[in-house]
Structures are given as C-alpha cells and as structure tokens.
C-alpha cells in the first residue's frame, strides 16, 4: 500500500540521517572482520600493516576446518530440505484450512524462536543422556530442525497469504486431481517461497552455534570449530579470515533469498517477514 500523503512529511530529515546511521551501526562492526583478515599483522589493531592473503592460506590449510566445513554443509542441506517440507505443509494447513485451535497451534510452533538457546541445548542434552542416544551430527540436526521449521513456516505463510485462495479451487474445478493441482498451480506459485526457505534455513543451521555446541559429538560444525579456535590468540587472524568468508557467503545467499521471494508479491502482505 503506497502512502499517498496529503500531509506534508519531509522525505529526508533527521529521521533519514538516523536511518543511515543505524544501518552503519548494524553493518560497520561486522565489516571489521573482513577488513582485518587482509591485514598483515597478528594483532587486530590499527594502524593497518599492509595487505596479505596469508591468513586465508593458513585457513585453507587448517586440518579440522575442512572437516567442520563439510559437516556444516552436509547438515545444513539436510536440515534445509526437511525444515522446508515441514514448514510448507504447516503453512498450507494454517492458511488454507479452518481448524479449531489454530491460534494456540501456531504459537506452539513458534515457541522454539523464543526459548533461550542454552535451555533448549541442555534439555536436549539431558534427554540424549537419559535415552542413551550418543551425541553426533544427528542430534545437532534434530535441534537445528526444531529451530528452523518455524522460520520455514513463517516464510511459506507469507508466500501463501499473498495469493488468491480460489486458485487451487479453480484448478480443481477445471479437472485437476489433487496431485495435478499441486504440480501445476500450488508448487509453481510457492516456488519462490520454497527456494527462499531452503536458503534461509540452510543459513540458520550453518550459522547456529549454541545447540551445536551442546549437542556435538566427535564431529564439529563450523561454528563449534571457530569457537575452539578463539582461545588461541595466534589463530585469531585465521579465524577472521574464516569469519569473513562465512559472512560473505551468508550475505550473498540471504540477500538473494530475500530479494527472490519478495519481488512480485505485493509488499502489502502483512506478515512482513
């Protein structure tokens, strides 16, 4: 809904300046990671000592790193696919079907977003302990699935709400079987949301630290690996290099996901997510 103003509101004033400063506040601190990752000095401080790729070279040669990276990618892909599937079905149920108790159900599904990570971590640790299930990528995966599914659902709800509910009925009316309806109407229309959900849930799992920290067995994920490296001052620049890479990749992936799913759908969609 575009704001056609009959009331004079200045376009760029103090508020505009504030907005730019705010963005700077959000982005600049993170920019220091890439900045110092190219700095030719073991100390992360000004003045800058010159450009080097040494840290990146060291990073590429680190032992545990490649394993951790591989684990994170593997886990992220699995979690992304499963979370998106669960989230899509949940979103369809919630937006297209009249169900009693819909509100409480939605709140229940959103709970993982607000429970402090450490509490979830130890709770899962306790249950793993008690049931004798060993800690591994699988346990981390379950935890990640739990926190990503609500996000997947939010993204898909936002997508589904933007479209006419009658479209699926129209397709049925015109002779499509339920599978045909899904293949020819529901899926193509939901696709941008699905892609966005896959990318976003992958990123969530890839970057998630606290659950991975508590539930890791012998195989570390990348954030857990980084955490381990943080104790060694000499390794710090390498960590910066790694961090810079992760940030860049996340930034590109998430920007693409958000742009792809928001274009076309009217910004009128009130979920805003």
């Amino acid at each position: 809904m575009s704001f056609v103003s009959s009331v004079k509101e200045p376009r760029y004033d103090a508020l505009g300046v504030y907005a730019v400063l705010y963005l700077a506040f959000v982005y600049i601190p993170v920019m220091f990671l890439p900045l110092f990752s190219f700095n030719d000095s073991i100390f992360i401080a000004f003045p800058l000592q010159g450009f080097t790729l040494e840290w990146y070279k060291q990073m590429a040669n680190s032992d545990g790193l490649l394993d951790a990276l591989y684990n994170s990618i593997k886990l992220g892909c699995v979690v992304a696919v499963l979370a998106t599937i669960l989230g899509t079905f949940a979103a369809k149920a919630v937006t297209r079907y009249k169900m009693p108790g819909r509100g409480p159900v939605i709140t229940f599904i959103m709970l993982p977003l607000v429970i402090p990570g450490i509490i979830m971590g130890i709770a899962l640790l306790v249950i793993a302990n008690m049931s004798g299930v060993g800690l591994s990528l699988f346990t981390i995966g379950l935890g990640h699935l739990m926190v990503s599914t609500p996000f997947a659902m939010l993204v898909m709800v936002s997508r589904l709400e933007g479209f006419d509910k009658n479209l699926e009925e129209a397709s049925k009316d015109l002779g499509d079987s339920p599978w045909s309806t899904f293949r020819r109407v529901t899926f193509p229309l939901a696709l941008p949301g699905i892609i966005a959900s896959l990318l976003l849930t992958f990123t969530i799992s890839f970057d998630e630290f606290i659950l991975a920290f508590f539930l890791a067995g012998n195989e570390a994920t990348l954030p857990v690996y980084i955490w381990g490296q943080m104790r060694f001052p000499t390794k710090l620049p390498t960590v910066l290099a790694l961090g810079a890479c992760i940030l860049m990749v996340s930034f590109v992936v998430v920007t693409f996901a958000e742009w792809y799913r928001r274009r076309g759908v009217q910004l009128k969609t009130n979920s805003g997510v």
Binding site: S2, F3, V7, E9, R11, G16, A19, Y22, F25, Y27, P29, L33, F36, I44, A45, F46, L86, F89, A93, R96, Y97, K98, M99, P100, V105, I109, L111, V114, I115, P116, G117, I118, I119, M120, I122, A123, L124, V126, M130, M146, T149, T203, I204, D207, F209, I210, P223, I226, G243, L247, S250, F251, T255, W259, R262, R263, N270, S271, G272, V273
Partner: protein
C-alpha cells in the same frame, strides 16, 4: 462435445463404503481433520524435540547427580540450593537487569528505523527491508566476536583512537564488563527488533492518520495519539523477542563479559560443561524460565493498563 469429465454410471452406483474410503470421505468433508493431518509431522517433531525435553528437564531438576550416576529419587534440594547463597539470585537478577536494559535500548533504537521504512520510504522499500533483515540471518557468533575485537584493550577502537591521537592510554572500560555485554547484545538483536515493529506500523491504515490531521492534530500529537498506540502489538512482540532469549544468553557474556559481566547462562553452562552438577543446572534453568515468564506476564499486564489509559 465429448463428456470426458463424468465418470461412468456404474462407478457412481456404488459409493465405496470401506473404512479407508470412509476416512478419505471424512477427510474431504472435514477441513479440521485435513488441516491437522498436514500439521502432524511438524507437531510431532516439536513435541518430541521441544516439549518432551523440557518436561524431562523439569523432572531432571528434581534428581541428584553422583559423579556419573543419576539418583532418581525426588528431591527439592537443587531448587532450594538456588536460594542458599545470595550469589545465585543476585546473578539471576543481574541477568534480568542486563536483558531489560538491552531490550529497552534495542527497541528504542529500532523504532525510529522501523518508522522510517514504514512511512518515509516509498520507492526502494524492498532494498531497505533486505538491508535490515539480512544481518539477522547471519552468524550470531561472528557478530559477538566482531565486538570482542572492536572493544579489546588492544582492539580496533583503542588502537584507532590512539592512532588518531585522541587518547594516549587505551580505554579499559570497553571490554569485559556488563557495558560490553549490553552493547554487543543490543547490536546482535537489532534486526530482530525491527521486523515486528515494522510490520505493526505498516499495517496502520493511512486514512486514520489523515483523519487525525483533518481533526486538528499536528505531527507529534498524531504520532502519540494514533501511531504509537496502534503500533503497540509490534512493540510488545519486539520486547518479548529480545528479552526472552537474552536472559539466558551464554555466548556474549562468555566472550565479552569477563568476570563482571557474567550472566546466569554462564553458570548453567559450567554446570553442564564439566558435567559437575547437571540436575542443579537444570533447576537453575527452570527457575530462570519461571522468572522470565513472570516478567513477561508483568510486562503484558503493565502495557494493558497503559493502553487503556491512552485509549
């Protein structure tokens, strides 16, 4: 004109009556049943991985740990231990205070930003929205780490200021204290707070604002009397979204809090980390969750009476 859509007459004559057919017909007729069937995998997952562990955590908090064994006799000792030394309640109180400060700061800073995007931006809203949401999806750990290197004694700020000749000695108060914790958390949760507020503001019917102007309100009055009250749901959601997770935060106090910035999360982690006293850790978690719930209820009750007064 072929009539391919109608099934043959003999098919219609027999309406299937088996149990599966009955279930499918029931599914066709009952939206509720279909809906819940679709929801069931998600619900099942969350019950197993979220609800059940928490319930077990509560149970666990009533047991005792003897080195590697768990004694399952019911005892209140762990919960009572919380009150034995003033250190624990004090730490919880401090954590709540830090979180409240972070929440206040974050929401206050986020509101004008959300307002800007909702009301002032017309042409490139998409870009602005992406810019503020992208940081929210990326690594929390790395963002905290960034502050660690920024605030350090030999870190970015200090070395930069020294280089510029503004100070001679590095500032010691930047890192390893509650101040660092609050600043880092406020930065980390900034994007989280903007979205709910933005959604609330975006939903406001613009003709309401025009009506208020028509009836004589200047810009500030209009904001206080119309915009602010109508954005309350978003504000409240933002407060809850920031407050609840930060009370139990562990990463930030660990990396930038030092000894004076310790929060309850650190203690819980240490009880589980070395495996020294997990039931007590569980009890602390439960008490923390109860405290959070109580605070939220108070908060919601408080805003309810505020809304009544404004209306």
């Amino acid at each position: 004109m072929t009539d391919r859509v109608a099934p043959a007459a003999d098919v219609i004559a027999h309406i299937p009556r088996g149990p599966i057919a009955r279930f499918r017909r029931a599914l066709m007729r009952s939206e509720a049943l279909s809906g819940y069937t679709m929801l069931s995998p998600t619900l099942l997952l969350l019950i197993l991985v979220m609800a059940l562990p928490i319930v077990l955590l509560v149970m666990f908090s009533f047991w005792t740990q003897n080195y590697q064994d768990i004694d399952k006799t019911f005892t209140l000792a762990n919960h009572l231990k919380f009150f034995e030394r003033s250190a624990y309640p004090y730490l919880l109180g401090k954590s709540v205070l830090i979180s409240s400060t972070v929440t206040l700061l974050t929401v206050l800073l986020a509101y004008p930003m959300a307002y800007f995007i909702a009301f002032r931006v017309t042409k490139h809203k998409l870009i602005w929205l992406i810019l503020i949401t992208v940081p929210f999806w990326t690594s929390y750990l790395l963002r905290v780490f960034a502050w660690k290197i920024i605030l350090g004694y030999n870190g970015v700020i200090n070395s930069g200021l020294i280089e510029l000749g503004l100070i001679v000695e590095p500032l010691a108060f930047l890192l390893y204290n509650p101040f660092a914790v609050v600043l880092t958390l406020a930065h980390a949760w900034a994007a989280f707070a903007i979205l709910p507020i933005y959604v609330s503001l975006e939903k406001i019917d613009r003709s309401l604002l025009e009506a208020a102007t028509d009836l004589g309100d200047g810009r500030i009055k209009r904001f206080i009397r119309i915009t602010l009250p109508l954005s309350m749901p978003g504000l409240i959601a933002a407060c809850m979204l920031v407050f609840i997770p930060t009370v139990g935060d562990y990463v930030t106090p660990n990396l930038v809090g030092g000894t004076s910035g310790v929060m309850i999360g650190n203690v819980i982690q240490s009880l589980f980390g070395r495996g020294s006293n997990m039931p007590f850790g569980a009890a602390l978690s439960i008490i923390t969750m109860i405290t959070i719930t109580v605070m939220i209820c108070l908060f919601l009750w408080g805003t309810r009476s505020f809304r009544r007064r404004v209306a």
